[in-house]
Amino acid sequence: MNTIRHLGAYYLLMARVFSRPEKPALYRRQTFAEIEKLGLGSLGIVAIISIFMGAVITIQAAFGFESPWIPLYAVGVTTRDSVLLEFSPTIVSLILAGKVGSNIASEIGTMKVSEQIDALEIMGINSASYLILPKIIAAVFINPFLIVISMFLGLLGGYLFGVLTGVVTPHEYVYGIQFDFRPFKVVYALAKTVVFAFIITSVASYHGYRTKGGALEVGQSSTKAVVYSSIVILIFNFILTQLLLA
């Protein structure tokens, strides 16, 4: 019953978010500011995690393929498929749900408890649309770029650490990541990224917007935003994989 109530409230909030903006020029400016904050602000963490995860996947793959029957370039193939299909779109999105989601929920939650949202409403501004729409557009636009960078850095990390530790040769690794490459895998990853970006921003905004009380409740909203957006991402990961790959 509670879930149905939340779904209803989420739908009603999204209906307000996607209503006609008061002044599109202001929304555009706000969207660019959000791209900088949500996208460029996450570049560092995405880069570090991608390089090291790529490295770990390569070493683990090499460790598992010690059999002489398996060619060494399988390490490259495994790293590529792991990074492209799952690590970059899903795991990085889960990390962004933690970083960006908690940021959004606490920002909107603080605005709610300090009556800044009421101030917007009194001015005759659709606060839901003004605060949330630019965040959704920014994330849906910038996250695919982040994920492409993550893919590149993941594969680069695998290459650097694989070669440095001697578990794979440069030639075998590069041959492996090119072997039987299907561009649809990138399309699948980016399609997932766009859906996950929408989930992260909308679910986090929903929890921030519903905050009532004070600092304690802002913290609770922030936690809920991360937990629920992560769960929804995992559910949609399964649904999209079933729809696009099965």
Partner: protein, 255 residues
């Protein structure tokens, strides 16, 4: 003019406002006073549409606000200015950007015109050289003044002030009260102030409604409030030892 007709509001089983009627006159500072938790802020939120009353009407210059669509309400809301208890300034914007914000949203002014208007409003509330500071860098009294500047930037017809003196020292409270009164008279605004500060009542109370347990227990002006025999008002006004002493001196002087 704003008219409240038989407003009632409940949260679950708890009836917070019971059949409340009051008229806020144009060009006057109208006050709703009462103890904390008596339902004053809920009343104001019903007036501006942040809460929906269970019954009754709120009329803005004769137009029924409670029965309006969201679209029509927006038109009236754009004629409202509101000073919230904590100021409710936007943290991510500077003082100047806060005042400019409503102008950017609802006017076609050029950047230069908006800056001029913002500077005029900030000067009007006696604030200078703070334009580029953030709300976290200014004092509580300054925040209230910035909030007033933002509220008057679009030249509102109606001004709402929720506990404008909360958290301020007596001297700064008088500054804010005087500012509210001056602006009300100067621009002929219909102003409603929610407060439990007797200093404000005596300073700016052109019309006063005393709220007790969700109901209007008394109505009058700032002079009448000191003379009334209404026991609820007497208990509220003369709650402090200082006021009790004032009353004792006043009575002995009358005799």
């Amino acid at each position: 003019m704003i008219e409240l007709r038989n407003i009632s509001k409940s949260f679950g089983d708890k009836e917070v406002i019971k059949n409340f009627s009051f008229v806020c006159e144009k060009g006057k500072t109208n006050l709703i006073i009462g103890a904390s938790g008596s339902g004053k802020t809920v009343t104001m939120k019903c007036m501006v549409g942040l809460f929906e009353p269970n019954s009754g009407q709120v009329l803005y210059d004769g137009e029924n606000f409670t029965g309006m669509s969201l679209k029509d309400r927006k038109k009236i809301r754009r004629e409202m200015g509101m000073l919230f208890q904590g100021g409710a300034l936007f943290d991510s914007m500077t003082v100047e950007q806060n005042v400019i914000f409503p102008l950017s949203m609802f006017t076609e002014m050029s950047d230069e015109e908006k800056r001029e208007r913002a500077n005029f409003c900030l000067t009007r509330v006696n604030l200078e050289n703070v334009n580029h500071l953030y709300p976290s860098e200014i004092s509580g009294g300054m925040k209230k003044r910035v909030a007033i500047a933002r509220a008057i930037s679009l030249q509102p017809k109606y001004l709402f002030c929720d506990e404008p003196n909360s958290g301020l020292d007596p001297k700064t409270s008088i500054v804010i009260d005087e500012l509210i009164r001056e602006i009300t008279y100067e621009y002929q605004i219909t102003t409603l102030v929610i407060t439990h500060d007797m200093g404000s009542v005596m300073e700016i109370g052109d019309r006063v409604a005393f709220f007790h347990d969700g109901q209007k227990a008394w109505e009058g002006d700032k002079n009448q409030i000191l003379e009334t025999d209404n026991q609820l008002v007497v208990d509220f006004v003369y709650a402090s030892e200082f006021m009790k002493e004032v009353r004792r001196i006043k009575r002995s002087a009358t005799k």
